[in-house]
Amino acid sequence: MTTLLDVKNLWVKFPTRNGIFDAVRGVSFSLGKERLGIVGESGSGKSMTGRAILQLIRKPGMIEADHIALQGQNLLNLSEKQMRSVRGKQISMVMQDPKFSLNPVLTVGDQIVEAYRLHNKASKAEARAKALEMLEAVSIRDPERVMKAYPHEMSGGMGQRIMIAMMLIPNPEILIADEPTSALDVSVQGQVLSIMDRLVKERGMGLIFISHDLNLVSQFCDRVLIMYAGRVVEVCQADKLHEAKHPYTQGLLGSLPKFDAPRPRLEVLNRDPAWREAPSVESTS
């Protein structure tokens, strides 16, 4: 498999009054043309890992790594200006909540057209046609009307599809999706995921799917990294997640209420301090 992205020994640090806090501690993985899931609880560093790849960590946060190589090019050596052309064009990111991630004062059409024209030399008419095509690709029934609408006129599921359209229109090689369906109802989640899956497959992109939802990840991804306290504690094939070896992964799985297997009590996770100290597991792909 060709490697699109290779991350080696990634650290994200935040200086605090009580010394430096390490949000991500020595994470390494590589991504090919696949769906890679990153799961963990809140505060495990999964979102920070995604943001660090795009250098979207706000100051005074610091990113350190041996390398973050996008097809051989180390992103850490790029200037902020060069980084801007990487974001969107080569790697783009879908955020959790469309309510906070779309610009409320621009129409949906203007935002998608802007995303396209930022990275491609195209006339307005050309970009508009492209945007309409993209909205259709994400299964929006009446793209003409949606182009003229403002984000607040859209439902959550529509908003999320619009965001996916906007992120895919520059045709990036890698899509990072940070909890893209957590704010949506289960029935809408399925639609949004299948749209994302189809587009990613058609275009041969790599997908990093960040989520707290173990069941979802095990059904949707090819490979999963499980993070705990800023480290990767286990890497496994998504369909073999239920055979996971690490006690943390097993504990997480055990704490889920199961629809088809009722139990009087749920298992409670007993956190072992050793999990925090153990070194990150390397992913092998």
Binding site: S194, Q219, L252, L256, P257, E267, L269
Partner: protein, 251 residues
Amino acid sequence: MSNALKIKDLNVYFGDHHDLFQAVKSASFTVEKGSSFGLVGESGSGKSTILKALTGLAPQWEGEMTVAGQQLGLKRDRSFYKTVQMVFQDPYASLHPRQSVDQVLSETLKLHGFSDINDRIEALLKDVGLGPAFRFRYPHQLSGGQRQRVAIARALASEPQILLLDEPTSALDVSVQAEILNLLSDLRAEHGLTFVMVSHDLAVVSHMCDQTAVMRNGEIVEIISIEDMRAGKTAHDYTSQLLHASVNRVA
């Protein structure tokens, strides 16, 4: 067995004359004493609105609501809040940021006319699995799960018979969710409580409840026992769709 709660032909409205919106359309259900009843549905289906109408937070309603044999009018008196208490979804928003756990609980206890406040606070904290060390902490010094425990302690302060739970664990991690759900089951067994639980997560509702109402667009489409639901014996198509979507997450 007697009924803890009975709702008949409940309609709830929001807004005024020209843009009146009917959020709940002639909903009827009964909850037996000591049982646990679920309300499931997508966002906007009206499930939380029913709880709001019950507690008096949505004043524009018509129909019949009976709680512990008492028919409800427009006003709720103190004895109602001694019988019924609510736990809200977001423990980050439902606790006053500048009141310590002690203040939150003692104010509630004072309002309900208890005099042995000191002992009761200790007992309540013990009930929800928090040590006495948590008594003088502020919400920002607590994790999400600990905050939800405080919110549950506050709801238990008046020694209610019925707890209304509005998505009590959807803001929490799965491992913390397990702790809170276990705590709620224990408390129900210990105090003989009746639960009405709103959730969008069928797995959570099937773990906690005996029976559930499935809601869509303000209407109850089906009331079904959890055993029937597990066996796939659904009467309405929408219930089967919802079941399918929550088992096969990727369409």
